[in-house]
Amino acid sequence: MIVGLCIGFFIPQKRIMGFLSVFIGVAFFWGCFAFFISSANDHILAKRVAVLVIKKSDPMLLVLTTAMIGGISAGVAAFTGRSLAILFKK
């Protein structure tokens, strides 16, 4: 979230683009990372944890959920950061 906030604050762009760019970036990074880790693990853990979190033993859905959570958290932070920066613009 902190990273998202900073990117949003310091990089000039439209607020909605701030959200989108960070969202896509983080979601992609988290998604890939989780996917690679899970594959190396033969999805043993993801199958179990998926039932706990999303009630279905679907490892890919868990990876997707992870990507979304990461992306949205960071993206909203970026949006807020951008909005804050814009407050200071004359």
């Binding site: 190396a40 033969d42 043993i44 179990r48 706990l52 979190v53 959570i69």
Partner: protein, 813 residues
Amino acid sequence: MKYVVFTIGLLLNAALVYVLGTREVLPIPLGEFLSVQEGIWQNAESVDHDFSENLNLKDLNGKVDVYLDERLVPHIFAEDENDAYFVQGFLHAKFRLWQMEFQTFAAAGRLSEFVGDKAIQFDRNQRRMGMVFAAENALSAMERDDSTKAALDAYTNGINAYISTLNKAELPIEYKLLGYMPEKWSNFKSALFTKQMTYTLAGYDKDFEYTHALKLLGEDNFQLLYPEIADSLYPVIAKGTPYSEPLAEILPPPGADSVYFNRKDTIHIAQDFKPNPSNGSNNWAVSGSRTQSGKPILSNDPHLSLSLPSIWFEIQLHTKAFNSYGVSFPGLPGVVIGFNDSIAFGFTNAGRDVKDYYEIKFKDQSKSSYWFNDEWKKAEQRIETIKVKGAKDVLDTVSYTLFGPVMYDNSFKTELTTDKAYALRWVAHDTSNILKMWLLLNRAKNYVDYHHAIRHFNVPGQNMIFASHNGDIALWQQATFPLRWKGQGLFVMPGYDSSYMWKGFIPMEENPHSLNPASGYVSSANQRPADSTYPYFIPGSYEVYRAITINKKLDGMYNITPNDMKALQNDNYNVFAELARPLLSKYVQRDQLNANESKYLQMVESWNLHNDPNEKGVTSFHAWWDSLYNNIFMDDLHQSTHSLVRPEKFVLLEALARDTAFRFIDDRNTSQQEDIAMQVTSALKKATSYLTELEKEDKLEWAKFKNTTVYHLLKTSTLPFARSGIMNGGGNGIVNATQHDHGPSWRMVIEMTHPIHAYAVYPGGQSGNPGSKFYDNFIDTWAKGEYFNLFYMHTEDTNADQVKWKMSFNPVL
């Protein structure tokens, strides 16, 4: 406008932090939990994970090499045995830290700290039972002995060395789930662990239930329903074994007849927590005279709740002083059940009663004084502080008397009159150093060493089995058992003076034992240790049927090989059914049955008496028998709302076999006078509707009905971490004692040849991490009744194929 947008963004951020970062909305903070850097993804161990590493640690005296084999069993090679215990601690923590903490927190009555207020009753129960008090006493004894203190210190240091390497990402998943951090380990926690084990094995009591039953049913009926000795008993020590006369006759105090055996008032105690009465085991050792190799074979399978992480951790300790292999308890140093190059040792639960309650009269509500030997005696009061997650601390004051802690009084779950209270006298509270036994057993070379080692063990009573390479086999039922007059301790006793206190303890040499008997084998399966000629009163909770099967089979076995012993451990024969079925067949009124009922009758009668996975006869038989049992007893036992302990199944079987006019047959709630034929038939009819439903759900086959499941320690909260649907056979009273979630937690067969042939398996895995492939990888082998060949390593084996990884521990000055 831009202010509005900014505010919206800020609010959205706050909402996300609230929802994903706290436990207020969702049960788990998903932001952290699913974080790729710190969340569960960091627990997803690669299937190709390399366990080799070099570690530089202080508190080590010398270098230690650990060879991990393909089943992740560590073979620890250390010169100094304390270094071995250090590394054992480190590895126990590395693979099972959460389990060790969880079990000792439960022992100490500290579950509320991370579970919240729903654990308060449990925690109070543990404190009031004196678990912490008992652990303090055990700790002082263990630390007074140089060798056990050194072992514990090293073990604790090893655990803490591991904990200090942990960062947030590497925390076991359960910490992330529940939201707390591990504490440092201490010798005290190991002492707590020994008491938790003691509670599991010697914590079962029936004093209140029996007291109530006596009042409700009267002396004659009480004896009928709760007899001391079963007709079909096959005792641990063979019938006909001579016993020496006791030193003195032990008599009850004057007035016992009215005050104790015929008390006028009632006691209302509801005990919420009890250990599983099925906790027990099998063991047997056959001498060289009966084996093909000419050397003894020792077998042991302890029966406990099946759980993940497993209660056991397989390990080898190779030091200058000894080379032991077997299973260890994460929480204690040493090998607990196993062997070394000269001997093998194992345990079954004795089931002896070492726990009694005494009625206490307090002077007033402060509970600071109690009446004892004609005066008001000052009680020591302990204030137990129970920390509760998300709430205020709960304070509980417990008064300690000469007997022990006053566990039940008007502040802890009863509806009795205000001045009645019950103190607990439990051998577990007495000071002793049971760890010393294991340190000595690990290095024992012969019978004398074994006999010397077991003398340090006072509780929980165990049938300790032994076999040595030089040909000896032996079994001792060892613990300090109270000296009781006949009937003492079955019921709650008056605690107003010393007259009902235990007169002492049975001298250790007089504990039931056997060394190289003529029969050529020793065995135990939680049955009564001796027949009625044993000169002491020895109440307890005993099983009857496994011993019958084991003894009958061993009687006829010669040229025995390890495979024969494995087959016996997995034997599914139902000797109880063999004895009970003829009764059912004889009395059922066949002309009164409809087609469906006849169908199930057929299933029972054509069943092969083996509790095999596909058999429908097992389920049908059990449903019928249980239904008959309920028909006969429930009307009588439900006369009162208070808890009564159910009579053992042998009681009904033997009563019916002896006397078909058994007085309990009649249902007191009906005006009709039932006889045995009516009850047996009615039982089958009731069972039929139940069995028909089961058949519709495809749950009639025994394995499907039993649905053996190995639960995670957090039970229903973490069902995805459990393994269910294990399709094996077995059952209660069967040598293969597998029930729904309870059964052989370790199966071991050791042939004392040179080299030793060792076979074993347990239903779990070495790693406690649900994300590891080593979490539950042994379960399938165990379910099939198969075993692994144990790799008993020697120094020349360091390049063997079985060695997969090496951890080097280097001392840092």
